[in-house]
Symmetry: C2
Subunit: 424 residues, 2 copies
């Protein structure tokens, strides 16, 4: 894609309202624009990142046999009154009256909706376990929205829900999601730390948060160094959860052999038994023809929050450093002047796009310095400069955004160069 | 995918509230479930169809250099007051007050939002023309929601917006979208008829609706038979729009050489000049450094509506007949009993999935008759029965859902059989 076709205009200075680095960099690099307090427009660059994250999350959910579906953003209040949560949610729930004065709300979560529909489609124990998920916008009417999309009012979540015949089977399901979450965050290029969590408004007795390590993270995080070992995914749920981890006030300050850092919550999983299936009368018949209320769990990933969290984890003074998998473009081609270099660039754009998918060419009528700065700000993992060195020695300059390493190559060498995937 | 893992439970009878065939069939085949009046949950099968349509629409927008982005569902009323449309929209606009009593609304369309943000990112004539789009949920608080997702309250739309330097250039852009829309609907397996339209609340002087031909369509449609010719896409905008077409009360009953049928509106495009750029002060500087207000257009496709419209176009007494591109599964494997046939089915499922992507295997503990009926109801284009004929002669039965044609083949013949794409 060419920059001339992109809605993009970098800002040198951070807007005042942006207090954290991810918010500053997302505004400066035209990823997002505030529409109104806590509500953002995802501009083309930010949208590409959001979709890349969404697709990695989706891939991992599908891999464990989770069925994708889509629940509406607007819900009726009826089910919330039945479950008893309509009053619990307080002012964070965006309540709406339609033209007939029916009480609606913008869904902050979907336990009620999924539980209500489940028994219409599964009525025998033979249909269990079943896993369902959707990736949908949610709304939480924060009193003071801030930190950009890290804590917006309208935000994108992946929510999965599981239905099992009994507690034992529900715990097995919980372990499957637990492991799948570790895999998801690792695929995103992140270092996940599972932390035993309180269950809060969702309910239940078994819950973990997934934090990612980021120097500028929102919470203090303490963990066994073994938790960031290479072979974490080969360990069992029991081994992993037996290792120490805690955040904020739960941290045991007297513990030894613990890494202290900062983290950002990006996922949360819950096992809450029959908390919703009982009041919403969701049951199946067991092998003796008796009513059984499924044991349920829910599993959330903050998709829009992750865009900001990843920036908190990967940035420097010049801008964002996206992991290759997530970057809006994998490679950015930069020319100094229009004319003959333009042709070289166009040819390279075509060839590299075929090979790597999303490749950009900054063809704007601007100086080389500005273009390099913009490329660093956006955080594209690889750049190719076709400039002075090309005019003099027919050499192109390849730069790795993460470590700044440069290679000088001929056109044909660039075509066969391995632009490798890396985590900054 | 195996049916045992799918949230699916077919209904023999149509629910009473469903008056049109698409609504009946979508409920009967577990594609959608009503959450509350005019608001639906997209169950796994319906969701797959929705995504398939969305991806074909996206592909065609990207092809004409349209930038994908994402505007929020909830909007501030400020811009609507500025454009003067806040009162125009009346009770169909879902109005919301947040906890601080700010006036918000669930976006019924996005001209205001996109116009407002545009000039933050483009400030020179060099940045024009520019095309942007998003695929997002919208809300229209219908007084009497009905006809399922054909006219729901919460619905998914693709909306594109164009910005041009002057009227002439905006008309050229309009023609590009016009042709792209014909291509999109043809790619979806549909027969589009462009009809000159009134502009209504959006404004402007140039507008077309795109109707698709469907026996059970909502409007009467009259058109030049040439409009459904094979080579429509090779004709120019001028040639196509010079051919006769009209709907409902606009039909000239005295005209000859006209086909009279029924249609369903699935797209609408508008050129509305500076109607929004002027009041919202969206301008760029021209080559003399003077302020110029871009000429704009908007281009909508009803993505969720299309799921129902396609069913209205393609169904019979036994169920839906999806075009191959859109079907939730391309091929459905059906076994009569568990045991040895199960192994053959599993092997085939694996091989065909590699080749065709989305393939299903109905492994439920149910009779063959019920499974065949369900496959027809869902509308899967091809089915493979591994039943009596397999046990006796090692033959599998391939059926084309559209014309009912059967072939009897051996296992290895099935593996190399060309399950061709077709439009029913």
């Amino acid at each position: 894609m060419k920059f001339s076709n992109l809605l993009f205009n970098s800002l040198k200075e951070s807007p005042k309202e942006a207090k954290i680095v991810s918010h500053q960099l997302m505004l400066r690099s035209s990823m997002i624009r505030q529409h109104t307090s806590g509500i953002y427009t995802w501009l083309p660059l930010g949208f590409k990142v959001l979709k890349n994250i969404e697709n990695i999350v989706r891939y991992n959910q599908n891999k464990i046999g989770c069925n994708e579906m889509m629940m509406s953003t607007i819900q009726s209040s009826d089910l919330w009154k039945k479950s008893g949560r309509y009053s619990d949610y307080g002012k964070e729930m965006l309540r709406i009256n339609d033209r007939h004065d029916n009480e609606l709300l913008y869904g902050p979560t979907n336990e009620e909706v999924i539980t209500d529909l489940f028994s219409d489609y599964v009525n025998s124990y033979k249909g269990l376990p079943k896993y369902l998920y959707h990736i949908q916008w949610k709304f939480r009417d924060e009193i003071r929205p801030r930190f950009g999309v890290m804590r917006g009012r309208e935000f994108l979540m992946k929510d999965a829900y599981s239905f099992d015949l009994d507690h034992e089977s529900a715990v097995e399901t919980y372990k499957i999601f637990f492991k799948s979450y570790l895999q998801t965050f690792i695929d995103l290029g992140l270092q996940p730390i599972p932390v035993k969590a309180a269950t809060g408004a969702i309910g239940g007795d078994l819950s973990h948060e997934f934090q990612i390590i980021a120097k500028t993270g929102e919470s203090e995080l303490a963990y066994d160094p073994e938790l960031v070992s290479q072979n974490l995914l080969n360990k069992s749920y029991e081994e992993i959860t037996s290792m120490y981890s805690a955040s904020d006030e739960m941290i045991d300050k007297n513990r030894s052999n613990v890494v202290i850092g900062r983290g950002i919550e990006v996922g949360h999983i819950f096992n809450f038994g029959t908390k919703y299936s009982l009041p919403l009368e969701c049951y199946v018949l067991n092998n003796e023809g008796k009513k059984v209320f499924p044991h349920m769990g829910s599993y959330g990933v903050g998709v829009s929050r992750l865009t900001a969290a990843i920036i908190e984890a990967f940035h420097d003074e010049n801008g964002i450093k996206w992991p290759f998998n997530i970057s809006p473009f994998k490679i950015n081609i930069i020319t100094s002047t229009h004319g003959s270099n333009n042709e070289v660039a166009e040819k390279l754009l075509e060839k590299l796009t075929l090979k790597y998918g999303n490749v950009s060419y900054d063809d704007r009528d601007l100086g080389m310095g500005r273009k390099i700065k913009d490329s660093e700000l956006i955080g594209i993992p690889w750049s190719i400069i076709i400039g002075k060195n090309y005019e003099e020695n027919k050499q192109l300059e390849i730069t790795n955004r993460s470590n700044g390493e440069k290679s000088f190559l001929t056109e044909s060498e660039v075509e066969s160069f391995k632009f490798e995937q890396y985590t900054p």
